[in-house]
Amino acid sequence: MTPENANPSPAPAPAGGKKQRPPRQKMPEQPAAERVRNFNEVPYGYSADLAQLEASRCLQCKKPACVDGCPVCVDIPGFIKKVAEGDFLGAARTLKADNSLPAVCGRVCPQEEQCEKLCVLAKKGESVAVGRLERFVADYERERGTGELPPKAPPSGFRVAVVGSGPAGLTCAGELVKKGHRVTVFEALHKAGGVLVYGIPEFRLPKAIVGAEVDYLRRLGVEIEFNAPVGKSETVDELLASGFDAVFIGTGAGLPYFMGIPGENLIGVYSANEYLTRSNLMKAYLFPEYATPIIRGRRVATIGGGNVAMDAARTALRLGAEKSIIVYRRSRQEMPARIEEIHHAEEEGLEFQLLTAPVRVLGDEAGRVKGLECLRMELGEPDASGRRRPVPIKGSEYVLDVDTVVVAIGNGPNPLIPQTTPGLATGKHGNITADEATGQTSKPGVFAGGDIVTGAATVILAMGAGRRAATAIDAYLRAKKPAG
């Protein structure tokens, strides 16, 4: 993938007065018709020229509102200024001071709800493309940087176990190792990254990028133990008894919810987690060279309206589906997916059946899916959340002709640690209870953060929680007597 030759020339400033600002610059991307046949990343990213042009749009506000919208308070005007000046590696240093995974965040953060939403230019319609610039800077640094490592505090003598290698765990581990502690990450799967490797598809977040971030942490001194399902291989108490001075739990989301409708156990009904894990982590799209199979549906219905549903439905297209349909019970305004994903999905020809609720999966004699019976909904009175509640329209049942159904309606918390850690308080859904500012749980020396605490949220929120916990763990350790 070489961005250069695929680049359109920068969009010119409209003719007119001097004060005219160039429009928000688009990222060149693979044409929709082509990309639905491959798993390569959709956008190519900015060229240096496009990045500088886009950066020049930033007003460099004295009181930057965008920073308030960033859960980890990246110095956004600071890094953008360096981009405008052409100092891309300097921009990367600024960015990395607050965000340890910028190449990831630039690709998957819901910027339109965060920094870009509060950008002063947004009021005029076109905020600075913060996410695209972040992505450019991180990619530039990864490809052309010197690979220099940040300074590390002298060894503290303390050891910390981090459970789970998703964004929460990786961020926490990186911060702690920089503070001089010895950190071991325990990961249940055979690869590090959590949802970044098993959930979010290659075409949205190339696995090589996650791999590079993990390598960087290892070079920093973070040790990773794979195939280590804590709770089973060793319990949290055993970790604390075997020389770890503190434990951070970042085990993320777990068991997928199903709808409880008839036919959900038919062959061809997948949870989004299973569908995406087969495709991403196990590379089932390369079957049979890779041994894990996946059903390549001809007509696929995905139930849900979030990022997870978009990822599954777009994966189905790439696995060869003629038709990939999103079935969502509310209307488009309520769809929680990132705008860019919905936009890309539409370009790729996804069909949206909105205000539609599935009532039954139909199967053939062999137990395979042959249809999805749905019901039309209309918007009724607002519910507790203020959103108008969808109510079924009587007698509106109809059958969607599909052979695969992917259920993407959310997850409960991962059960292994709560099941095996006495004294660890959990909430009513089984999420671990932890202090928002510090990640401290009900158990001394044990901290937690990310989806296991909040329920399904975002990469950046998980990172923020990992980082705050690292600060709290550092303080907790230093208040203890120095180890040996």
Binding site: H190, P229, P256, E264, N265, I267, N273, T277, P288, N414
Partner: protein, 276 residues
């Protein structure tokens, strides 16, 4: 990485692998399983820990080469390595003193039944073992089972060894003796477990089965291993793999196990192997 320290073909298409996995060997309890992934492109294959040797730091798995995945695993030689070994997974068997237990193993299920029978015996129970196979060649672990059972009854479908009949025939005879049986543990192919449960339900004997749905992560993340237990969805890797046999919806399990039949043939073709 786990090194293979021993490998034997204990029956046609049936391989025993002893692997270096000291942490798992120290930790595992009867009824638990591991997931093995042979190499970068390999499948994640769940297999019961049939034996563990704490002192040697090894675990032993016994499996049938039914598809491309298990065939690949079965081809790893002594001294060779398995890239990923995860475990111990699943809930251990609830081992307690109840009196007389009947442990029924069918086919490769005998390898799963064996460690549980061993633990039940060590707990002070009277253990009656019933093991069966399609024919004499396919019968496994007879000597080992005999050592841990107070009584071992053997049967073959075709009568090529000891007697002709299914394990359920033998079980019915044992029940007919009239001595009290506290619990039956049945492990084998779906039709066998289903048949055993029918017999024990009529006789009113508590029955525990170990289910083998298709799995991926084995840690409660993907939901692929879901089974229907008394109308409720349960996840075999974290809620099981053992369940009350009288509550299992066998049809759902049987159907779901056939999900990748067509893929399986494609994979076997690719790897140049002939389907049995």
């Amino acid at each position: 990485m786990a090194k293979v320290v021993a490998r034997r073909e204990i029956a046609p298409q049936t391989v025993l692998l002893e692997l270096e996995a000291p942490k798992i060997a120290a930790k595992r309890r009867p009824g638990q399983f591991v997931i093995l992934k042979k190499d970068e492109a390999g499948e994640r294959i769940p297999l019961t820990i049939a034996m563990a040797d704490h002192a040697r730091g090894t675990i032993t798995v016994i499996f049938q080469m039914v598809g491309a995945g298990t065939r690949g695993l079965g081809a790893v030689p002594v001294g060779g390595e398995v890239m990923d070994v995860v475990g111990p997974l699943g809930k251990p068997t609830d081992i307690h003193k109840v009196g007389t237990v009947v442990s029924v193993g069918g086919g490769i299920g005998t390898a799963v039944a064996y460690p549980i029978a061993e633990a039940m015996k060590a707990m002070g129970n009277r253990v009656i073992g019933i093991i069966g196979a399609r024919n004499k060649d396919l019968l496994i672990l007879e000597d080992e089972f005999r050592k841990v059972a107070d009584e071992l009854l053997v049967t073959t479908d075709d009568g090529s060894y000891v007697r002709k009949g299914f394990v359920t025939d033998v079980l019915k005879e044992v029940i007919a003796r009239g001595a009290p049986i506290a619990e039956v543990l049945a492990i084998g192919p779906v039709p066998m477990m289903k048949a055993v449960c029918k017999v024990t339900k009529e006789a009113g004997i508590k029955t525990v089965v170990s289910l083998n749905p298709i799995m991926i992560d084995g840690t409660g993340m993907c939901g692929g291993c879901r089974v229907d237990i008394g109308g409720q969805t349960k996840f075999a890797c974290v809620d099981g793999p053992e369940f009350d046999g009288h509550l299992v919806n066998w049809d759902v399990l049987g159907t779901r196990l056939s999900a990748y039949k067509a893929h399986e043939q494609e994979a076997c073709r690719l790897h140049g192997a002939e389907k049995r």
